[in-house]
Amino acid sequence: MVDPRMMTEPVTPDWTRQPSPARWLAGELRDHLWPWSRQGMQRRGASRLVQLFGFAFAVIVSACWVLAVRGELGPHGVIAWWTGWSAFEVALRLQAKPYVKEGPWWERRYRRASPMDMVCYVGFKNLLLGAALFFALKSQGFLGAA
């Protein structure tokens, strides 16, 4: 039976069962920043190769931010890599963590993510992360010249 009160069926990721609010909050933070999940990947049968590619991609994108800090990569380069990573993260999360939050952000309600839900989630999250990093870098005098 479909629950019409949510766009997709509700799910309860294991880590959300933490009774401690602090641990749950830490779990939330980890969930936003770490797109991989061993259980999710195993459940979906993702190959080692895909996992390795994901890690390699993450390392390259992190290196791009480091290069930006060093002034060796301009804003357009960073944006291009960040966008590429975001597209990959959508695919990755649909495999590893295929859920999004429903309702108020301080509640513990999650639902299965449709591809569009995941695009919206990753797009929005990475826009905020990217903007925060850009602001931080620019306030320190980096990324000033393309």
Binding site: M1, V2, D3, P4, R5, M6, M7, G71, P75, H76, I79, V100, K101, G103, P104, W105, M116, D117, V119, C120, Y121, G123, F124, A131, F134, F135, G141, F142, G144, A145, A146
Partner: protein
């Protein structure tokens, strides 16, 4: 909805799709404009400015032009009479004086002509980057705006808005929809005029009473002078001038007043300061400059050629003070203990009664910013303020009334409209926050407790917000802000349009609270106009020809707007200009900013076509094309508070069939990205004569003679639980 012959429906669908797909592609070719025009590479550096730009257009009749002179630079224009050259006026390139950004964040490069009496006699826009003038408002509007300056004196008090003769203020008519642009342009015109006028004696310099110094009588070391603000630092980073980022500053200068005895003695020693004093005239004022980092010289090489130091100047209020070779003395050392090592130094003398050390002043380093992609150089200046502290001035610092920033003036002059607009936003949010109460009062047969507010919001939005304030949010703002976020965020730029600024605060807050529907469905001027047309058409008897697209087709077409948004975002990364052109898929400029009949026919046809289509289909643009709606729909996925549903909604189609947004799927789930919060389903949710589960429960209770209890927040009658007869009554 009444059924139509299938052939008619097919025809209408075909027409709709054709209009939606074909019209945006009919944008006319751009005429030759100053938008992002290619300027000569040597424009900012060439001594013979008028070999590169049409100076004769701004000083009519002039045949000869001098090389650039002065600081800020200007050109003298001459006419030939009886074999003799006579001074006919002056030409100034706006970017030689100021790099004041307009709405695009870039300056409007303007060539300005003055006659010998200080009146504007010609203005020519060489280049601008204003998106609104690209396709929305014709560029001729800016030319017409500039024409208002002709004949006016550079010292007049000219402001955008109404003239106020009692305050001696001359008002200029703004360009509707380009207020920020013309405010910036007014600043540029007046600054450029004043800069030339003061140098050539057309404007008298301000006379400020000389400073009366207080000498604390104690020796000052360098650290003390720095901490007390007696010496100041001016540093320019390499990236600020377009060079690769580096640890070492492009230039780092320390500077300070030398007339003040305490500072003079600390820097020069007692004898040195006494010697300097002897060389200074009554109105002379000395200051020192040290270069402690960087390889760039602050003296430059201009003084060798023309006897003028072209890298530094002092500004106080509207007055600029430049230095010739006679205004310079060598500075061989700094006596103050702890003074930093320096690689260049000098003493400069301001020789003007207009300067007073009692008032704040700025040391300005005049530089060039290099575009690393094109190699083009643009004028850029960097300054640091200096003001002697209270303790060093007899009577303390004088009161200085700083003029309001342009955006502050806009907020002040438009305060009544801003208050009304804010009231509209807050009231709408409060009304929607009270939706539970309103929907309970309403019913499917009488939806007016909700609709009265919604329709009032539409009408206010169309008339007051759209046509009155021209405050139609647009995807171009999202793109501009996105770029500003990444490249250069300027608060004053965004504050310059208070209505759009406030609207976006409202949009951001309400999207996260309730989703995009409160803006899109209640307050978007174009969306409101579109739906109002649909409602009025239905009310006047056209309901029988109104239709919705089949859900399956709708579910495909709704993705088009996301494609449009993401396409625009991607294009904007490569070319903001192209993105601005493609953003014409929004008919907002045509409808509200410029007017349906003030644009070329493809735009008018497109906007009118969409509005005409709204007679038949509810909000066709909002559902299928609006990139702004798509941009807001994406974060709406994570709105906090959604609409209520009952479990029975998975089978019942009562709400879904009446949903104008087609946001309810076959399982009764509401797609929050598509929902425009019309609240029709929420009215039914508590209507025991419309919502099938409630209707059946009402009928069951009526048949059983059971009391009707209120409907709870879960959408069901509050259940009646009989109290067992042997239970003692509660106190």
């Amino acid at each position: 909805m009444p059924s139509l012959p299938d052939s008619l429906k097919r025809w209408m669908r075909l027409a709709f799709l054709s209009v939606a797909v074909a019209l945006p592609a009919t944008a006319p070719a751009l005429a030759q404009t100053a938008y992002e025009a290619q300027l000569p590479a040597a424009l900012d550096t060439a001594a013979a400015l008028c070999e590169h730009v049409p100076c004769a257009e701004v000083v009519p009749g002039a045949t000869h032009f001098s090389e650039r002179k002065g600081q800020p630079r200007y050109v003298e224009a001459y006419v030939e009479r009886n074999g003799h050259r006579e001074l006919a006026g002056y030409v100034v390139l706006s970017t030689d004086v100021t790099d004041t950004p307009a709405y695009s964040g870039k300056p409007v490069v303007t060539l300005i002509g003055l006659d010998t009496r200080g009146r504007f006699i010609g203005v020519r826009i060489l280049k601008h980057s204003e998106p609104i003038l690209l396709l929305g408002i014709p560029e001729a509007a800016l030319t017409a705006f500039n024409r208002q300056y002709l004949g006016k004196f550079i010292g007049d008090n000219i402001e955008i808005g109404h003239s106020r003769p009692d305050e001696n203020i001359i008002g200029l008519d703004a360009i509707s929809g380009a207020t920020v642009t013309v405010i910036a342009q007014n600043q540029v015109m007046m600054a450029a005029g004043a800069a030339v006028g003061r140098q050539v004696g057309l404007l008298e310099a301000t006379v400020r009473p000389p400073a009366q110094f207080l000498d604390p009588g104690r020796p000052l070391d360098w650290a003390t002078m720095v901490s007390e603000g007696l010496v100041r630092r001016l540093a320019v980073r390499p990236e600020q001038v377009g060079l690769a980022r580096a640890a070492e500053p492009f230039i780092e200068l320390w500077f300070g007043d030398l007339n003040h005895p305490a500072i003079g003695r600390a820097v020069l020693g007692g004898d040195g300061w006494a010697a300097l004093r002897q060389r200074l005239g009554e109105h002379d004022h000395a200051l020192f400059i040290l270069r402690t980092a960087g390889r760039e010289s602050f003296k430059g090489s201009g003084f060798v050629r023309g006897g003028l130091y072209d890298r530094v100047q002092v500004r106080q209020g509207q007055d600029a003070f430049t230095f010739r070779d006679l205004d310079y003395l060598n500075l061989y050392g700094v006596r103050a203990a702890g003074a930093p090592a320096f690689s260049e130094s000098g003493i400069f003398i301001v020789r003007s009664p207009a300067f007073s050390a009692a008032w704040p002043w700025k040391l300005v380093f005049l530089g060039n910013r290099v575009d690393r992609e094109t190699g083009a150089r643009t004028f850029a200046n960097f300054d640091a303020e200096y003001w002697l502290p209270d303790d060093y001035l007899a009577g303390g610092r004088p009161a200085v009334v700083q003029p309001d920033a342009p955006w502050v003036r806009i907020w002040k002059t438009r305060a009544p409209q801003i208050a009304l607009f804010s009231l509209l936003l807050v009231t709408t949010a409060l009304v929607y926050a009270s939706r539970d109460r309103l929907t309970r009062r309403a019913s499917r047969k009488n939806p007016w407790p909700v609709n009265a507010f919604k329709y009032a919001a539409w009408i206010t939005s169309i008339g007051f917000v759209g046509f009155g304030l021209l405050a139609q949010p647009s995807i171009t703002q999202v793109l501009t802000w996105f770029h500003a976020l990444l490249f250069q965020w300027t608060w004053s730029l965004f504050l310059s349009d208070p209505f759009i600024f406030l609207f976006w605060i409202f949009i951001i807050v309400t999207v996260f609270l309730w989703g995009r529907g409160l803006f899109c469905g209640w307050l978007c001027p174009f969306g409101s106009l579109s739906e109002l047309i649909y409602k009025v058409a239905g009310a006047v008897g056209l309901k029988r020809i109104q239709f919705s697209l089949p859900k399956a087709l709708h579910d495909r077409l709704k993705w088009v707007k996301y494609g449009v948004f993401l396409g625009l975002l991607a294009v904007s990364m490569f070319s903001m200009t192209l993105a601005e052109q493609l953003a014409e898929i929004e008919p907002f400029k045509t409808t509200f900013l410029v007017g349906l009949f003030n644009r070329s026919w493809p735009y008018t046809l497109f906007a009118a076509g969409l509005l005409g289509l709204s007679i038949f289909i509810e909000r066709p643009f909002c559902k299928y094309l609006c990139p702004l709606g798509a941009a807001l729909a994406m974060p709406s996925t994570f709105r906090w508070f959604g609409l209520r549903r009952k479990q029975e909604c998975d089978r019942c189609k009562a709400c879904g069939t009446g949903c104008g947004s087609l946001a309810i799927d076959a399982d009764g789930r509401i797609d929050q990205r598509e929902c425009l919060l019309c609240l029709d389903c929420m009215v039914m949710y508590t209507d025991d004569h419309a919502c099938p589960p409630l209707v059946s429960e009402r009928k069951r209770r009526t048949r059983a003679g059971v009391e009707m209890t209120p409907i709870g927040t879960d959408g069901y009658f509050i259940p009646i639980r009989p109290v067992p007869p042997d239970t003692p009554p509660a106190n």
